[in-house]
């Protein structure tokens, strides 16, 4: 049986991971390569590396991080953050990334999804959708959640799928950072509404939240950052809980 995936997310700024990390025995908590290797050992099914810098120098550093992570781990990983062209994608894939995620650039130019899918295969094209609950409806927001787009999240998700996306990374900006659980309603709507895998993100605070997003919302994978970085819950604990309640994990 295809198992549900648990995906820790590392935010990278100037070649270093940001957000607090409280693992024992880490020599350098800011080193993305060491952290990636540690998560891989702890049973992560994939990783996501997010470049949260915007300068050109930092971009070059990020590519180097991607190369080093690719050499260090033998599980798949997605990279994202400010990706807007085929050239960038080619560089990141040849540095060893398995998938790339596009967000704002795809909203500005939906044809980018199709071009990337045709050039590199849809298996490596993830569209990241940031959704926010606005007056009772889930709307897509862009530019790191700062700008409303007016697009309904489910409509944009279906369009991404039709344009050739291979996966949707759906982040609830309403739940993000609350640790109160994933947004099950919109995640369920998107997971049922598209024919490609959906990764849920935003709101993870306990193993039960993962159980809910897999069983009630039908997500194919779930991504979290804070709870893993701060050591509140380990990947092993999440997987043990899921296994105990009958959800297939690796």
């Amino acid at each position: 049986m295809l198992t549900k995936r648990i995906i820790p997310c590392l935010d990278i700024k100037n070649g270093r991971t940001v957000k607090g990390v409280s693992f024992d025995n880490l020599r350098d908590a800011g080193d993305p390569v060491e952290l990636a290797a540690r998560y891989s050992e702890h049973g992560a099914d994939e990783l996501t590396l997010l470049d949260i810098t915007a300068t050109l120098e930092a971009r070059a550093t990020f590519v180097q991080v991607v190369e080093e992570v690719a050499a260090a781990i033998s599980i798949p990983f997605t990279v994202g953050g400010g990706i807007s062209s085929e050239q960038q994608v080619e560089l990141l894939l040849s540095a060893g990334a398995d998938k790339v995620s596009v967000n704002t650039a795809a909203l500005l130019d939906p044809g980018l999804i199709t071009r990337l899918s045709n050039a590199f295969g849809n298996q490596c094209v993830v569209v990241a959708i940031d959704a926010k609950l606005q007056q009772g409806r889930w709307e897509v927001v862009s530019h790191a959640g700062t700008r409303p787009t007016g697009l309904p999240a489910i409509g944009w998700a279906r369009q991404c799928c039709d344009l050739g996306a291979g996966e949707i990374l759906l982040t609830s900006f309403t739940a993000d950072g609350t640790r109160g659980g994933f947004s099950l309603d919109i995640t369920g709507e998107v997971a049922r509404g598209v024919s490609i895998p959906v990764v849920a993100s935003g709101g993870a605070g306990s193993p039960a939240h993962f159980f809910d997003v897999f069983t009630l919302a039908g997500a194919d994978a779930a991504l979290a950052a804070g709870i893993f970085h701060y050591g509140m819950v380990s990947i092993g604990q999440v997987k043990a809980y899921l296994k105990k309640y009958g959800v297939g994990v690796r």
Binding site: I75, L93, G96, G121, Q123
Partner: protein, 195 residues
Amino acid sequence: MNEIIRIVDYRAGNIASVINALGRLGGSASLASRPAELAGARKLIFPGVGHARPAMEALMASGMHKAIREFTGPVLGICLGMQLMAGQSEEGETPGLHIFDQPIRRFGPSLKVPHMGWNNVFDLKGPLFAGIPENTHFYFVHSYYMPISADTTANCHYGLQFAAAATSGNHFGVQFHPEKSGEAGMQLLKNFIGL
């Protein structure tokens, strides 16, 4: 293990991953994009992701399609590499190398495709799976599959049962990505290197 391993280079991705994985096993390999570059090679790895048609066209343009079929040492086709060694693919009605006498089909519309993630493989046979227990999870990313046949050496289930691995003489194919499948994948690559 050294320069005797060649990796077929036809611009169809994930070559860096394969080189990295061999590196972690303490070895190396060089790339071959033309048949002449296979001189002296004892083993061949044929990776691939992406669309079947441009991949096959690139192989036919360089003559590598014939070289892969005629190679006498162990050949390991990974993902699209395995599918291109089969019969015609429903992906772009692309002809294959016919090393495995099976067509390549698309997963049905009721399933989410790509089949993406870790799935267990079973009914394991042959030297590639030495030391790998039944129902070990490997990482898959694909929208097309090879049906079960006499060549099948590992099964997997996603909506239906399909070939996770196949062998025909010196040609081996795996639908999953051993280079992305953690320790089990490394064991499989080690087994291939040791053939």
